[in-house]
Amino acid sequence: MAEVEETLKRIQTHKGVIGTIVVNAEGIPIRTTLDNSTTVQYAGLLHQLTMKARSTVRDLDPQNDLTFLRIRPKKHEIMVAPDKEYLLIVIQNPSE
């Protein structure tokens, strides 16, 4: 458990990282470093998007699966590491 904490802290203090969210399979945020409303928003929306992305990948090739999702808006970069049950979302500002 301490490793998880340490890794989370390491990710959070990485250069340019704005926030980190861990979401479970239902889209409920478990750990977050952002404020509540933002977290809920991100978690809900990204959860849906990840599901859609995963289903797309699976449709194209049933043997395939989604391993990493990276969304690059103009201002930040959102990285989603999906799993069977959880999502790790990291928001980074790449210009720093």
Binding site: V4, T7, I11, D83, L88, S95
Partner: protein
């Protein structure tokens, strides 16, 4: 044939009993019922013959061995009270009594105990010899957890209201009885392993802290996190920006070039399309109150004659925005600018026309709030130097123009100077001052550099007010002057350096009129020079070829310790260290202000720098004396 009448009588008896026992039920008097039934059964048994026992029992067992009936309350009681199970036992009894072959010889009286378990006890022994004996089944405590989805209420996690109910259920006949109340079975956290899946509520509102902690400790989460964080960390460290735009919209990342390692690196480049393009940066100053603010003054824009000639922009280092914090302009080209030291809102500018202007960032105007008059009492020549000297309570604005006039002003009233002084050398030659510097902490003595290549020391007040000494050495106009300002254990305030058009930077001390050392590394006009405010042996100079050099006297006096060439090689007009000594701002001829970060190993002084500088100075002195001796010898020879 002999069966039928007895059978009929039995049937009649049963019917009779069926009729009677509801009545008994209503009377709710067990004793009476007991006695009645007792007598009835007695009569029954007595009426029956032996020969009937066996088949009768068989038939009786057959008739009574029908466990799959829907039982009502009456029949419930019926089963309790009616000796139907008893009848076999009665039969057996009677058979036994009849046959009298039971060895136990227990005069079996029916213990009419409502507790079925005891009934069972009694009847147990009866079943020994008999097969297919209907016996009372042991009462089992059945606990059927209902198969239903668990819904958690957020508030209570500990099972306060739900408890496992063990309901005593009677005999196997009552297996089909409806449960009294289906109670939700208790789920303790430790038992259920699939609780994680079932924890959601209809609207995924939230999980309680405990649930979250539970999740975080779970095995799957660890596995997931291990994998996921690995990928994310790799992705984070890859700083490739695939959307990088080279077209120049994002100014900060383009300008300048990254220098080797940690020596000097470009931090920011400030330039404004409208106000700073095509203008030359004439002066720079860092704000003493807000270390991130920097004022840059610009001269006129030849290509935009309708724009104001003089512009001063206040830039902010702290934020990433590329536009100036404040924009000030005035009618005449601004040749020098400074933050008023004890007035955080005021910016002073000296212009080409000789006016001193004052801008205030509290007002919304971009034009000056105060101006000195264009009169003979003030300046009539370009003012290249402005400086606020003094203390909080007693300070003055000093300005010197190129006609040698030095005026001191009070910032509250710029309508006329408080004091003015003509700087003349040897009572005749006016000194065309291009640069001025006050030593650290001194308000009276100062040094000025002039167009003729000499440096003068002067006093403001006292009997010897005016020029005192002349320091000759430069072969071209002196462009920049800086007095040693790094405070420390040893006082070096007698040192100053000057830069000039003759490609050299010279180190002087006020104690001697000959330069201590001459730095001749540059190949172009050296436009400005400044000591580091923190490091005693470090100074920076800029020249016309776009080079910014850092010299460390303790390291090497022959070559600069660090050097940066600005992109595009514009002529660098000004250089200013930030008050922290960690950053350097330079202004160039294209109207750009570049801020460089200086590496720590260069700009941060170590504890022994001061003593080392003493040694260095001694060495320099010796070398100079030797050099002079040699030169003198050569001359002689």
């Amino acid at each position: 044939m002999s069966l039928t009448p007895t059978f009929l009588s039995l049937l009649l008896l049963f019917l009779f009993l069926f009729c009677i026992f509801p009545l008994f039920y209503f009377m709710t008097n067990q004793l009476i019922t007991h006695s009645l039934t007792h007598s009835l059964t007695h009569s029954l048994t007595h009426s029956l013959t032996h020969s009937l026992t066996h088949p009768l029992t068989h038939s009786l067992t057959h008739s009574t061995a029908q466990p799959l009936r829907v039982i009502t309350e009456d029949t419930c009681l019926f089963h309790y009270l009616v000796p139907a199970p008893m009848s076999p036992s009665a039969k057996s009894m009677c058979s036994e009594t009849g046959s009298q072959d039971s060895g136990d010889g227990n005069s079996r009286t029916l213990h009419w105990d409502p507790d079925p378990s005891t009934l069972q006890l009694h009847s147990d022994s009866d079943l020994l010899g008999r097969s297919l004996r209907l016996g009372m089944a042991k009462v089992t405590q059945v606990d059927f957890p209902p198969k239903q989805s668990v819904s958690y209420s957020k508030e209570t996690q500990t099972p306060t209201c739900t408890q496992t109910h063990t309901q005593a259920k009677p005999a196997e006949e009552e297996e089909e009885e409806e449960m009294a109340e289906p109670k939700p079975a208790e789920e303790s956290k430790e038992e259920k392993a699939d609780q994680e899946e079932k924890q959601e509520e209809v609207t995924p509102k939230d999980l309680t802290e405990e649930e979250k902690m539970q999740l975080l400790h779970s095995e799957e989460f660890m596995a997931f996190f291990d994998r996921g964080s690995r990928i994310v960390e790799r992705a984070l460290s890859e700083r490739v920006d695939v959307c990088f735009d080279y077209s120049g919209r994002d100014l900060e990342d383009k300008e300048g070039e990254m220098q080797a390692g940690a020596k000097m690196s470009l931090n920011r480049a400030f330039s404004d399309e409208r106000w700073s393009k095509n203008r030359v940066v004439t002066c720079l100053d860092w704000s003493p109150q807000y270390p991130e603010l920097l004022v840059a003054s610009y001269n006129n824009n030849e290509e935009a004659p309708h724009e104001p000639d003089g512009v001063a922009l206040v830039w902010n280092m702290k934020f990433k925005k590329t536009t100036p914090e404040y924009t000030f302009h005035c009618q005449s080209a601004v040749m020098s600018a400074a933050f008023a030291r004890f007035h955080p809102n005021l910016v002073v500018g000296g212009t080409y026309s000789g006016q001193i202007v004052l801008w205030d960032n509290r007002s919304n105007k971009r034009t000056p709030v105060q101006r000195t008059p264009l009169s003979a009492s003030a300046h009539t020549h370009p003012v290249y130097c402005v400086n606020v000297v003094g203390t909080q309570n007693a300070h003055n604005l000093i300005s010197i123009s190129t006609d040698g006039k030095m005026c001191s002003w009070s910032l509250d009233m710029l309508s006329q100077p408080q004091d003015s002084l003509e700087l003349v050398f040897k009572q005749s030659k006016a000194v065309a001052v291009t640069s001025m510097a006050f030593p650290l902490g001194d308000v009276n003595n100062f040094v000025v550099g002039s167009e003729d290549g000499s440096v003068y020391t002067a006093c403001r007040h006292g009997s010897k007010a005016g020029i005192s000494d002349v320091f000759e050495g430069h072969h071209g106009p002196v462009t920049g002057l800086s007095c040693h300002s790094a405070g420390g254990p040893v006082d070096f305030s007698h040192l100053f350096i000057s830069a000039s058009f003759d490609w050299t930077v010279k180190l002087w001390t006020t104690k001697s009129t000959r330069p201590l050392y001459s730095f001749e590394d540059s190949c172009d006009y050296v436009y400005d020079v400044m000591w580091s405010p923190t490091h005693p042996a470090l100074f920076a100079c800029v020249d016309g070829s776009g080079r910014l050099d850092l010299w460390n006297l303790n390291n090497d006096t022959e070559v600069p310790s660090a050097s940066v060439c600005v992109n595009g090689s514009p002529a660098l007009n000004r250089v200013r260290w930030a008050h922290s000594g960690r950053e350097i701002a330079t202004g160039d001829s294209d109207g750009q202000v570049l801020v460089y970060d200086v590496g720590e190993q260069i700009c941060v002084p170590k504890a022994d720098e001061w003593t080392r500088l003493v040694h260095t100075l001694v060495e320099i002195n010796e070398n100079r004396d030797e050099g002079e001796e040699l030169a003198a010898q050569r001359l002689v020879a």
